[in-house]
């Protein structure tokens, strides 16, 4: 950690962009955020996967899941509200059809998983434990769009510990619980993750939200409520990452409204080891790639030889 400013490095210098998420070494700290990059292949024509730090795929559950009715998303000021409802083909089909495709790339694939019960979480994790081509598991305990009670896992500390511990038992893969933003003490969840055997944490998931059409007086989402993402939540996410970083030594994957290199840097400055780009990908599919390139430039200007110097380098 450094808290001083340094003279810029010259333009030829190639800063070291690699970071470690627990036992997992990434070539650079920029990932895609779960649910915003599909199963990767959708973006194959536009994005050079080999340039990304990791690909995090859409949440996978034990059984196929059809998700919510439509409309599923609505655009709001500087944000997007989604209530996709975790639609996914289930773990078996995912492994067969999608993971097979992703294995062609050298980029680590992090699989986002969820369940309706502790047992389901453990079962999905167990299924992936032996799957080659899965670099880590991200545990979605915080999706607001599922009503079967999994909601609780993200905001109730006891339930959270239980699910993290159960997944820990089920797999030796690096495990990354993904925290919900709608808690008053994010530090407590960060510590609980650490105590329950997590290798890293990621945050934030989308922020519970709602929109109504004043004319029809109906909710604008079929699911009534959804999760807010995009630039609108960036300052909220940054605050939570900063707070979490002060509560745990676990590496943090920070996300929420990142659209520019500077935003990625901000998350690392407050303590994230890596970042994920979500909603921004919809408007600019190459955002994550662009940020990887931008970071090298940024580090040179900051006089930093390694992106790891950036982590927690907030000056006061």
């Amino acid at each position: 950690m450094t808290t001083e400013r340094r003279p810029p490095l010259d333009a030829e210098f190639q800063p070291d962009l690699s970071v470690d998420i627990g036992p997992l070494r990434l070539r650079n700290p920029v990932m895609t955020a779960s649910g915003t990059f599909g199963y990767g292949t959708e973006y194959a024509d536009l994005v050079d996967f080999e340039k990304l730090g990791a690909i995090v795929v859409k949440g996978i559950s034990l059984d196929p899941w059809s998700g919510n009715s439509t409309p599923r998303t609505v655009e709001v000021a500087s944000g997007l509200i989604n209530a996709i409802g975790l639609q996914n083909p289930g773990v078996e089909k995912f492994i067969r059809e999608h993971l097979a495709q992703l294995k062609r790339f050298s980029t680590p694939v992090i699989v986002n998983i969820w369940g309706r019960t502790v047992e389901e979480y453990a079962a999905v994790a167990r299924r992936f434990d032996t799957e080659e081509g899965v670099a880590a598991l991200e545990i979605n305990v915080s999706c607001p769009n599922i009503k079967e009670g999994s909601k609780l896992f993200g905001t109730d500390l006891t339930a959270f510990r239980k699910v993290v511990a159960a997944v820990r038992e089920a797999t030796r893969k690096p495990m990354i619980p993904k925290l919900a933003p709608n808690v008053s003490d994010i530090g407590a969840f960060a510590r609980a993750a650490e105590e329950s055997g997590a290798d890293a944490i990621s945050l934030i998931n989308s922020v519970p939200a709602m929109v109504v059409d004043a004319k029809t007086r109906r909710p604008r989402l079929a699911n009534i409520t959804g999760g807010l993402t995009g630039p609108a939540i960036r300052p909220i996410a940054l605050k939570l990452v900063w707070e979490a970083a002060r509560a745990t030594k676990l590496p943090i994957i920070g996300m929420g409204g990142i659209t520019e290199t500077e935003h990625a840097a901000e998350f690392m400055i407050v303590g994230a080891t890596a970042v994920a780009v979500g909603t921004a990908t919809f408007a600019e599919p190459r955002t994550a790639m662009r940020i990887v390139e931008g970071l090298a430039d940024y580090l040179r200007r900051q006089g930093m030889k390694s992106v790891r110097e950036l982590i927690g380098s907030l000056r006061s």
């Binding site: 599909g38 536009l46 609505v74 989604n82 995009g230 919809f282 599919p285």
Partner: protein, 270 residues
């Protein structure tokens, strides 16, 4: 059998021209050398406006015409994004992702192509009309005469255009289904017909019902709000009958926007 989408690009198109059209529509002519030559009938481009700054999604538009390295969009300002689009001037740039989606299948050589369209559907079906091996018959519907677009474009291709307006200001007084039904019910009409439709949901559903009733092949281009436009976000899904007869979600941006009308599960059937 539908055509396979060619590979997708992202491209900063240059605005060559923008002009007001009738019925509140605007014509936007863009130079898009990578995308324009690859557009198939029924495909769309996903456009990124820089204004308003708080709008974070792209907006999808069907390609009206594609010629060499230029393409044209016929659009109507209905909200903030499309209103901001009106301010584009020659020389401005507009980021496009495209060509996207699965367009219309190659029209059957043995069938008379029949197009049914409302709103921007008249523009969205032009490229199809142009690639049809032989001219066919087009039914255009709208609220009033102003809403009936590009008739002459179709006529130049040798198509016959029959119009219906809800206020009777042009053609038949009523919905587009009125002249269509008259045509379909006419015993002397050609027996081998293929239907292609783009327009409001209610219209598409009405077409699907006719197609079912007369056992005609029919293709409908669906309009759904979109997120990514690439199949990743699952915003644009539509319930369809899957291969095994079960209801499944199809992504309008990827498996569509054009669907076999008989596969669509309309709202109350889904």
């Amino acid at each position: 059998m539908q055509t396979q989408p060619p590979s997708i690009t992202i491209e900063d198109a240059e605005v060559l021209r923008q002009e007001p059209w009738q019925g509140g529509y605007h014509l936007l002519v863009l130079r898009a050398p990578f995308i324009a030559p690859r557009v198939q009938p029924g495909q769309f481009v996903h456009t990124r406006l820089t204004a308003p700054a708080d709008a974070i999604l792209r907006r999808p538009f069907s390609v009206f015409k594609a010629d060499g390295d230029t393409l044209q969009i016929l659009y109507k300002p209905v909200g903030r994004g499309t209103s901001a689009m009106c301010a584009l001037r020659p020389g401005d740039s507009l980021s496009l992702i495209g060509p996207l989606g699965r367009g219309f299948p190659l029209p059957r050589p043995d069938a008379v192509p029949v197009i049914v369209a409302g709103g921007y559907g008249m523009a969205a079906l032009y490229l199809l009309a142009k690639t049809c091996p032989r001219p066919g018959l087009a039914f255009f519907g709208g609220a009033t005469v102003e809403d009936i677009l590009c008739v002459s474009d179709f006529e130049v291709l040798g198509w016959e255009v029959r119009v219906a307006t809800e206020d009777g200001s042009r053609g038949v007084h009523g919905l587009v289904t009125a002249p269509l039904d008259a045509f379909l019910a006419n015993p002397s009409r050609p027996s081998t017909i293929e239907l292609f439709a783009c327009g409001p949901n209610g219209m598409l559903r009405a077409i699907a019902e006719r197609a079912h009733h007369y056992s005609l092949p029919a293709w409908v281009s669906m309009d759904r709000n979109m997120g990514c436009g690439l199949g990743a976000c699952l915003t644009c899904v539509q319930k369809v009958r899957g291969p095994n007869g079960h209801a499944v979600w199809a992504r309008v941006c990827k498996e569509g926007p054009v669907f076999d009308a008989q596969t669509i599960l309309w709202e109350d059937e889904a």
